[in-house]
Each structure stands twice: as structure tokens, then as C-alpha cells.
Subunit: 262 residues, 2 copies
């Protein structure tokens, strides 16, 4: 393990986790009728729960000493050196509505810091994998964020206006008013588009650790940056706000526009 | 032509138009770097212009007496009995940002009324085709909108909050406050999801005829309904507002919530 921030086998395991989640999720896509309550036994609930269970079993088999934090089945061993953070279906609304822009998010944390991340889209068959010391790939081919030095050249994504609350609303409006192009929707797929050089910024709030931990290594391995609104690197104990960019200059300008001091 | 509202050859031509547009568009997807000005020679501008030119040529060859209204190259013979309405890339922002939820829209109008419509997604290879007297298909298989009798069970789509202006804002907020699930983004792909039974409502404004004409036959052939906010069927001379639903009961409830009287 010298030099690398994670066991070498973790990289292959991350791919197997995404494979397992996709195999569970795909048969449930576009099968729902009118049931959208998360409390119901809806297709998304079943897919979410079973995909996470499949991934947890693979982790327990390979690394029984690692911790796990999942959206659906809670947490174990969060004080372990290594902790996996899982969100089987990020973008539940997209999944429910038949849109192939949801994703399976898998992160490996070392001392609370994300060092390996996967964004997997099991319908289109696209897998972004980022890891410290390795760079980010899409289906095995390296990807790179694009240059964007100024907000008035930037494409900004956020999932939905109502994710911003209280003073966040005015802060986000300042940023939105400064960018070239604003696009709503897309969830984790928006970050994948930044990693691949098709968009510049994803700024969100109302997040949980399983929403953002996987995004950081994917973006950083593509040359970008992922922080909270105060500019601190994303960690398991970060707050609810993320600011992700392909170019540090656009990121700095975005933080300035947000002018956030919590 | 007795009984059918359009020449039999028009159905096959519509498929050839979508094929031609897709062949032009696909090589330009995810090739852009930072150029997002529509006035520039950006990939989306080239794809949009060349795809429409390819479709117009096929129409001129097959039906030289038909009219054509296109987003990119203007209009000819709008007083003809039959008029084709073309939008090579509906969802320009999605295309620019690398999201496979844009679409090519093709409509055939008879006396100003849409009687045939295509929503084609050339990256995922999904084609919705609706025509009077034929029903709607996705890649040749019939699709049907789902039942949704009440707004509090409905999934509502709109492309972006800023498409609503003036009194539309409050009207849309009344509707949004009544539905089960609101999802932003998706452009014409949202209507395709309603036709396939994965969502219930698409309510938009700031539209041009080439944005909505193709949607009406696709929705109606799947058992749904497409009108303006006053409940009038969509036509080439409809205003800027559309209300599309898979179930007439949800549609009626949506119009009531909008409470629109222009």
C-alpha cells in the first residue's frame, strides 16, 4: 500500500460493485406505473435497496474491515480507515421518470477523504472512474475537463431550484446571473459531463455525503476541483453544499459570486 | 388519400427525415469545447443547420408542393395544404452540455393541424412516431400513456423555470404546488416519457411552433392530449404555451390549476 491511498484491489472491486448494481437496476428501469412514493414498494425502492445490498455483500466479502455508508441500509464501521459510500440510484426522480441520466455512485474514503469514485450510468453503459494517482476514465479512456476561465463562458448545472433554501437562494441567483448557460436537471450526470469537458460547473445544496463523495475523485482526476461553498475539499463530513468545476479559475469565480460565509 | 389525413408516403418520408437528421447530428455530439454562442460556427449550429437542410431536400424531392417551416432556414409555401415543421435539435442546451435528452422534431400539418409527429433521439436510438389513425410507436412498438386521474399523483415536467414570464409564473407555481413530483429539464424527451407512460404532464411556455407541433400527434396517438393553456388543440398558429398530458383527467386538473385566461 505504499504510495497509494487505497488497496490495489479496491479499484477492481469498485468496478464489480458498479456491475452488480447495474444488473439489479436495469430490469426495474421504465417498469413503474404510477407509484412514486418512496415508502411504497415501487420499482425504484426495490432497485435501490437490492442494488445496495448486492454492493454491500461484495464489500463485506472483499474487505470485511472496511466501513460502509449507504443511502438505503445505513452505516457500519464508520471509524474504519477505509469507508465505502454508496448511492445505488442518484437521481431518483430521473429514474422514476424514465430518464437515463441517473447514476450509481460509489466512493472509497480514506480517513474521511474520497480517494476513489465511480459514476455509473447502467442504461447507456457509461462508467466514469476516478482515483487518486490514476486519473479519470470513461469506459477505460481518459477524460479531461475543459478550460473555462470566466463565468460568462461557463455552463452551470444544478438539479432543481428548490434545493436552495434561505440565503442560498440569493447566493445561487448571483451565480446564475453571471454564467453563460444554466441547465436544470441531470443530477450526478452533470458532474460526469464536467469531467468529460462538456460543461463547467455544478453547484448544489441539500446534499448528503452519498450524493457527493463519489464525485470528487472523478472531477479531480479529470483536472477539476470539488469543494463546498467555502472552498474546502469535499469530505464525508462536509455540509450540504457542493461547488464542482472543471477549471480552478471558473471555480474561484463561482465561489466569489456565491459570496458564501455560513 | 380518402380517410387518411396525409399521403401514405408521408409516413415513410418522416422516418427518412429522422434518419437523415440523425446521421448529420451524431458526429457533432460531445465534440464542442467552450463555444456555446448560437451565432458562432459551433458544433450545434452546424449540426442544426445541416440537419435541417438535409431534411428539407428530402421533402422537396418527395413533395415539392408541400410547405416547410424550419427553425434554421425559415419557411416556404406556408399556405400549402400540407406543411412540414422541423426542429433538427430541440433541446440545444442539452445537446451542448452532452446530455442525450435532446431530440429531432418532425411534424406534418394538414390545414395547420399536426397529423403526424416524430420525436427522434439519435444517440440512444429511440424514435417515437405518432400519426392520426395509426397510434404511436417507439421503434415500431406501440406505446401508451399511463392513467393519472389526479394532480397529486402526477409527475410534471418543464424545461426551465425562466420559460415562464409575467402572470405565467404564478399560474405555473399553482400547478407545481399541486403535483406529486416536479422535474426540470428534458425538453421534448419529457413528452416522449409521457407518451411511453413514465410521466404525466409537460407544461411549458416561451415556445415556437417547431417546439410543439411534432409533440401533439405523438401524445394523441398514445392516448393523451396536447393543448394550449386554454385547452385548445395545438396548431401551427397556437400561442407560446403548451399543456401536454397522458390522461385527460390530469390535463383538465392541470388547466384548472393554471386558471389561465389570457
Amino acid at each position: 500500500m505504499t504510495g497509494s491511498p487505497f488497496p490495489a484491489e479496491a479499484l477492481a472491486l469498485a468496478g464489480r460493485l458498479a456491475d452488480a448494481a447495474g444488473a439489479v437496476i436495469r430490469p426495474h428501469f421504465r417498469t413503474g406505473v404510477a407509484i412514486v412514493d418512496k415508502a411504497d414498494e415501487s420499482p425504484v425502492t426495490i432497485a435501490d435497496r437490492d442494488a445496495e445490498a448486492a454492493m454491500r455483500q461484495l464489500i463485506e466479502d472483499a474487505f470485511p474491515e472496511h466501513g460502509i455508508l449507504g443511502e438505503e441500509h445505513g452505516s457500519v464501521r464508520l471509524d474504519a480507515e477505509f469507508v465505502w459510500v454508496l448511492d445505488p440510484i442518484d437521481g431518483t426522480k430521473a429514474f422514476i421518470s424514465g430518464l437515463p441520466v441517473f447514476g450509481t455512485l460509489i466512493a472509497l474514503l480514506h480517513g474521511g477523504r474520497p480517494v476513489l469514485g465511480v459514476i455509473d450510468q447502467p442504461i447507456s453503459g457509461e462508467r466514469w472512474l476516478g482515483a487518486e494517482g490514476r486519473g479519470t476514465t470513461l469506459n477505460g479512456r481518459p477524460v479531461h475537463a475543459r478550460a473555462c476561465e470566466r463565468l460568462d463562458r461557463a455552463t452551470l448545472f444544478a438539479t432543481a431550484p428548490d434545493m436552495f433554501k434561505g440565503e442560498e437562494i440569493a447566493a445561487f441567483e448571483r451565480l446564475r446571473g453571471s454564467v453563460k448557460l444554466m441547465r436544470w436537471g441531470a443530477d450526478c450526470y452533470a458532474t460526469a459531463m464536467v469531467a468529460s469537458g462538456h460543461a463547467d460547473l455544478v453547484v448544489e445544496s441539500s446534499l448528503q455525503p452519498y450524493d457527493f463523495c463519489a464525485l470528487a475523485p472523478v472531477i479531480e482526476g479529470a483536472g477539476g476541483i470539488a469543494t463546498d461553498w467555502e472552498g474546502r475539499p469535499l469530505r464525508i463530513d462536509s455540509g450540504r453544499r457542493s461547488a464542482i468545476a472543471g477549471d480552478r479559475r471558473a471555480h474561484a469565480a463561482a465561489l466569489e459570486a456565491l459570496a458564501w460565509h455560513a
